[in-house]
Structures are given as structure tokens and as C-alpha cells.
Point group: C2
Chain length 516, copies 2
Amino acid sequence: MSVEAVGTVRRGRGARKANRVAFDTTMLPALHRKLPLTEPMTPEQVEKIDAASMHILENVGVQFRDEIALADWKKAGAKVEGEMVYLDRHHVRELIATIPETFTYHARDPGKSLPFGRDHGMFIPMTGAPYLRDLEDERRNPTLDDLAMFHKLAHMLPAMHSSAHHIVEPYDHPISQRHLRITYSSMKHSDKTFMGMTTSPKNAEDVMDMCDILFGADFIDTHPVVTGNCNGNSPLVWDETMLGAMRAFCRRNQPVLCSPFVLGGANTPASVAPTVAQLNAEALSALAYTQVIRKGAPAIYGHYLSTVSMKSGAPMAGTPEISLMNFMIGQMARYYGVPWRTSNTLGGAKTFDAQAGYESAMTLNAVLMAGANYMWHSAGWNEAGMHCSTAKFIVDAEMCAMGYRMAEGVRWDDFDEALAAVADIGPGGHYLGHPHTLENFQRAFFMPEMFDNNSIEQWMAEGSVEITGRALNRAKDLLAAYEEPKLDEGVDEALRDYIARREREIPAADALNQEY
Amino acid sequence: MSVEAVGTVRRGRGARKANRVAFDTTMLPALHRKLPLTEPMTPEQVEKIDAASMHILENVGVQFRDEIALADWKKAGAKVEGEMVYLDRHHVRELIATIPETFTYHARDPGKSLPFGRDHGMFIPMTGAPYLRDLEDERRNPTLDDLAMFHKLAHMLPAMHSSAHHIVEPYDHPISQRHLRITYSSMKHSDKTFMGMTTSPKNAEDVMDMCDILFGADFIDTHPVVTGNCNGNSPLVWDETMLGAMRAFCRRNQPVLCSPFVLGGANTPASVAPTVAQLNAEALSALAYTQVIRKGAPAIYGHYLSTVSMKSGAPMAGTPEISLMNFMIGQMARYYGVPWRTSNTLGGAKTFDAQAGYESAMTLNAVLMAGANYMWHSAGWNEAGMHCSTAKFIVDAEMCAMGYRMAEGVRWDDFDEALAAVADIGPGGHYLGHPHTLENFQRAFFMPEMFDNNSIEQWMAEGSVEITGRALNRAKDLLAAYEEPKLDEGVDEALRDYIARREREIPAADALNQEY
């Protein structure tokens, strides 16, 4: 690409430094939606999906590859044959009825605790990336410092409601001990809500112990503070690791995402509505099990959702059927009165190019219009989750802030006043100096900072920087302005002591295990 | 950015050539929406906007800077004072009641004629760009050959329902004669519907004459074939050029877009709902005038919609308030029973970077969920309309095809059959070889061709080409495979004779006028 050069003045470090004070890092309150949701199914079609899912649960069955879960199900009165569990629809309904429709997520900073469920939504960064694209857009394996960087950014970006957990995989620490350092990083660098590792039942218990230290003994048994994710193996399988981690969370009253892992067309039928029926059966079976573990424990209807290219076998994102399935799953979750999680800003682009922008925005819109409560993977996701892009992290977070504004709906409080301005200005005038404009412009129209809307001449005069460069500059400026939300010294010491003890107890396995 | 290189095999011209036969260029039928629309206003709020707009029309008035229009309004019984016209709400309602809610757009190929209005939608490329980014992504002034290129691409891209008119401004032809060559190019290189120039009343009449030649005498008086756009000068002004062009179209029964040109916050109040009220008043005043010109003539509720950055004064796109206003305007147009136009895939990015992707996808989603009928600027728009990007043209068209699929809603016809597959496969299996999958995979999940969802290793082996490069390769391949939909020889000759005659009659002004 090229344009005639009209100037090469670049914004240097000095110019950026001068802007530092301008950042507003105040966290947005939990999204409270007022825009009507997109509901493609009639009530009859919702019941059709429900009936199909219940039929699957009763007749096809679900495999629980875990002896404790099988024993629990037997005790709860389910029909169990080998690893197969067959759930009666009345039993399922009775079990999921005790899942709280709403609860409060408690953060270290009580001012950042969040109402959750029904009309409320929250944005959580991506997690699990084995690579990052860093502050220079280099793709490489991440370290604990990189993880800390993302936790700091999540702490500062207003639309992010959580610091999540392993946004990137810290390869410079032994895999068997990694969950401890990840949890500590989430707790230390941000005072927002966070997620807890579910990589093994014991790891999940370590997270519970660390939450006890952070919030004080017994607090978490009555206050949700941390979210665990349990992926299903679609079709219709839950494995021992996930079920064990689920028990660790449920027993301590901490919410788990019950997440079938859907590769549409590969592990579900090649069709939208039947895929939703299968996914719904899978989610219901896990949601029901959370209540077998602990009646009344918070639990979240989840899923990871992609469709598979029948040409290459690759997972796809931003496609129309993913939007449709999100809309439908939202209807199902609301039908059952259970909060739900989906995945936001997904995509398969290898760089932060226009593909990444299209994919992420398509998903963001679907997720918002579907009414999801727990919008995971809301910043940084790229390359089908293989890397977290620092640039994209910044821009996605601003996109979430824009989506937030859209989902809040239309303001009417200044309607009459503004109409008076129309009469004042009259035909052919302009509003820029009118008192109503001066009073309202800051809140009237969102002014994205990562989109460049200047003329090409101005843009070239500022160095012809595309959005990747602008976002990386912003990330650097934010990090330079980062102020750590200090942990209580005693708590910090107790956490570090706990980690030290556990690291002595847990073998480091093969030193630095680079595989994940 | 960088990744470790694993290969450098590039897809060359030969590889592309081998793929040529694979393109499906069959035009999609007119979109028939089944997905529920997003309607943020209650019926009472719709009436509140209506009442506010009618109040503006009755009390603030609209300026018609055109003597013929003022005389027409006097004759029609409106209150006229100088250039100000005050329209009674009952009079407005009576006038707009005769605008057809639906009609058929007739194309040169009758197989490409389109039902229009209510649940039907069509995608039209961007127009009016003074620059293009060409097949090498160079930004430069366009020529007639460049315009022909875009008309050829619009002809071949399935989701494009129109070849539009001056997608780019052909700078190699005198401005005073340009409309003739533009119209000919639309007619010759594509047999889809198209747009007609409204740059002056006389130019609009030339377009009507050329349509008479293309479709045969008298055909157009009873068949809409070409769309004209008339921009308003917000707030509340219509000028002589636009009104004269409007008359040329309406008198011959050709649809005009009555398009207030909104820079929210600059020429409207800094608030969403009042901006819609002003825009609605402006649109209603022009829609009413179309029926003064010719009762029963087709007319389309239109607008160009942006919000203005209060920091820089620059127009913004993809912002939440633009989505909200689109949703609301859709409700107003349906309240009046008039088809409506909006602008799709807008954005202010200078290159085809991630900003362009985000902006365009945000707008596309809003436009689809708002239920727009005439989705203009659906391909190529970038840099706030200053350039048409060839790469973006290709990708936008695929995005429209995906949006089309989403807006069609959910299929249920194979539901029972696919559920039987769930029972067949059972827990832990996969669906790739199942007969239902083999029968359905091609239509089940959209497989975007411009998104790369392969692994990074595969992507690097294919040359690490970002979406801009892939789209430009696709454009080259499409153009190599282009087959002209031949005009009848007599018609072609008559058109060329007409142009030759008019070019003798119209002074070429200052030779090649490079200003527009």
C-alpha cells in the first residue's frame, strides 16, 4: 500500500508521556442491558430443543468418565450403566431448579464486585494462549512477566470486569506448579474478579485455599469470588479431570462454567438447531451434576462454540451459524433460568489484520444480542486461541466498551431539551456551539480512541500508523501509568508462603515443561 | 510482527489459475429476512419520535432552496414563506400514504430482478470515492477502467445485488460528461440493477434517456429500474440540484433515496433520540415531496448517518450510537410503511487494517438487525468514503453473504434426521463420516473463503499472506474469469450514439477537471 507522503512526524515517547494522565481506567459497572435481545426461536421451538435434549439425556445418555461422579449419580437415583448415565427429564429439571439465577461476584476491591445473571453481563479477557504477540508484535512463548502484563492491562481497561487467570501460558515456570503463580498474578496485579485454574482437582483445591487467604477464612463458602471452567468432550462426555475440578469449586460454592466444547459438524451434527439440542443436553447434564455436588451452588451454562470448515477441518469464527447458535443458546439458558457464558471476539487470523477485526466484531455483536452474562475471551484472542495479541487486547477492550454502550440502549432524558435546540438552530445551522451540545457531547456519542478517523493527511503527518501500532503504543503508555492495587502485606506474605510450601510439595516434573 | 519461518512456498499465478473454475458467481436472491429485528423503541416511543418530527415540520419548517419545489408546495396547499415550507402532519401522512411499500426492481437480466421492501433486502456497493486502492493496494485517483473493474466485480460477487453507479470517480473523463460514461459502464459490465447519477437535474434526465434505450421506450414508466440518491443538507434543508434530480426520477417512476446527511452532533443535536427525530422530519419532508411530484411514485426513506468526534470534528463509524439510530430509523420507516435505505460497512480506516474490519462488521450487524431494505455502501468503503478499497470490496461482499445467511434465520427441516444422528454417534464419537453430515455439510455452516482458518504453519507455508493480499489475489482471479453479459448489439450502439451526441452537446468544461 502507498499514498503520497505529506509528512513523517512521528509521535514519540515524549508525546505519549504527555498523554498519560488522560487515561480513564475506572471500571465500568456490570453491563445492565436494556436493548431487546435477538430471539430467533418461538416458544414452541424452545420447547422443541428442550424436548430433544431431554430425549438425548434419557435415551442416548451421557458418559461420566469418573468413578466419584458415577457413584454420586447412583446415589442421586440416576440410571447408571458402566460409565453411562441416563437422566430422567424430571430429575434434571428438579436439580437445575436450585441453581441461582443471579448472584454477586465479589472482588478484592468491594467497589468492583458485580451483580451477575439475568440482564447483567461482564467481560472477561481471553485465556489459555500458548503464544503471545507482544509489545513489539513478536509471536513467541509467554513468560510470567507477560502474564503479569496482561493482568495489569485487564486491571486498567474499563470494560474488562475480570483479570481472568492464565491469559497466556507462562512457559518459564514448571507446568505442575504453574497454577499457583497464575493465581497469584491474577490476585496481585488486579483487584477485579478473576478466574481459577481447573487443570486438575488438586490445582482447583489450591485455588480455593488461595482464595481463603485472599478473602479470609469461610468468606468464599457464602460468596462467589472465582470462576472455574469445565470443558465437556462433545459429544456427550465429561472427563475425570474436569469433574474433579468441578467438585472442588462447587463444594466451596464457587461458580463453574459447564462448557460443552463444540466444533460444529465434527463433534455435533452438521446443522444449527440439532447442534444446539446436543450442546444443551451436554450443558444440562453438567449443570445438574453441580447440584448433586452441592445443592444451591452457583453454576453457569457454558460452551465453547465454533463451526468446522468441511474443506480443511479448521475451526471457524465470526460465521453466521455461530451467531444464530449464540442467539438460540441464550434463549435456552433463560428458559432454564440459569446464567450463561459464551465466547466473545473469537477469530482465526494469524495477525491483527482486517480478518481479526471482522471476526471479532461479528462475534461481539452476536454475543451482545444473545444476552450472554459471562462474556469470556473478550480481549486478545487471535489465531483460534493460539496466541493472545497485545494490540488486539487493547482494541477488543474498547470494542467491548462500545458494545456495552449499545447494549445499554437509548437515553431519552434530554429529549425535550434537545428538541428545543432543533428549533433554536433551525434550517441550515449547526449545533457545535449550542448549550445542549456543550452539555451533552461527552456522553452523547462514543469516541473510540483506537479508531483513527482523521484525514489521511493528518494520519500521515502522525506517521501513517495502522491500528496495530496505535494499540501497542497505547499498551505501552498504559503499562507506564500502571499503579499496583496493593495487597495487604500480611495477605501477600501468606499467599507467597502458601505458594512456597506447595512448590516444595509438588514435583516440578520435567523442569520447564514446554508442552501444554 | 514475526513468527519463526517454516516455509516460503507462495501461491503463484499458476496455482490461482487452476482455481478459476471454482468460483460460484451466481447472484443470491433478494435477502428474505426471517430473523427477528432489533427494535429498541416501544410503540409509545415510536409515536414520540413521530410527534416530535411532525412538530418540527409544522413549526420549525423545512427550507426548500428551489423555486419549482416552492411553487409545487404552494399548489399542493402547504404553508410557504420565502424558502420555508411548513407541513401539516395530516398533509404529510396523506402524501406518504401513496408511496409503495413494496415493488420490484427490474434488472437487465430479468432473472436478477428483485422483490423490494418489507422483509426483503439488497446489497449495493459503495459509491462516490475520489480515490481507490487498486489491485496492488496503491492509493490513487481512479479512471474509467477502474470503474469498469468494480462494475465487473460487483457483477460477479454473489451478495452484490447491484452494480451501483460511480463506485469510484473516473478522473480521466471530463466531469460534465462523466455521468454518461458512468451510466454506460454500470449497464454494460453487469446485468444486475444499478443506480443513476443525480449530480444535476439534466444529468438525471440523461440517465432516464439511457434507461429508455436499455429497457425499451415506456418500460421504465411502469417499472422501477434505477435508483437515484438525493442528499439533504441537514438540518432541514433541501437544495435545488437534489430537488431537480428528484423530479427527473419521480416523473419517470424511478425510486429516489430521500437521504438526510447526518453528522450527529454537528448538524443534529448531540443525542441519539433527538437526532432521529430531526432526521425523520427531514426524510418525511422529502418523501412527501416525491408524492407531490408524482403520486404513487416509488420512494425510499434514506439517510447517511455518522456521528462526529467532538475532539477532532471527524465523522466516525461503527460506533454504538450509529447502531442504535439504525435500529430506531428502521422502526420509523416500518411505522410509515415505506422501504428504507441505510449505509453499510462504513469506516474511517486509512488502510484495510483491523480498524476497517471492526468498523465494517459493527455497521453490517446493525444494518441487518435494523431491517434495512436498501443496504448501500455494502462493499469497498474505507477512509470515510475517500477511497474504495479493492481488497475490502471483495471481503465486504463475502461478509454480506454471511450476514445474508444470518438474517435468513434458522433452518429446522433436518432437525429430526440430525437428532437420529446424535443417537447413532453416541458419546465420544465424531460426525465427519455420518450420512447426515455428508448430505448437509455444504449448506450447514458458511465457509468463508477470505478468512484464513488454517494453522499458522500452513499459513506460513502459503506465504504468510494477510487478508489484504488474499483478497487482491481473489480480485485478480475473478477479473481473469470475468465474462461480459453482452448487451444487445443494437442497444449498445444506441447507447453509444446517445453518449456521443450528448458529449457533443455538453461542454467538456475545463478539459479534465480533477476537482470533484
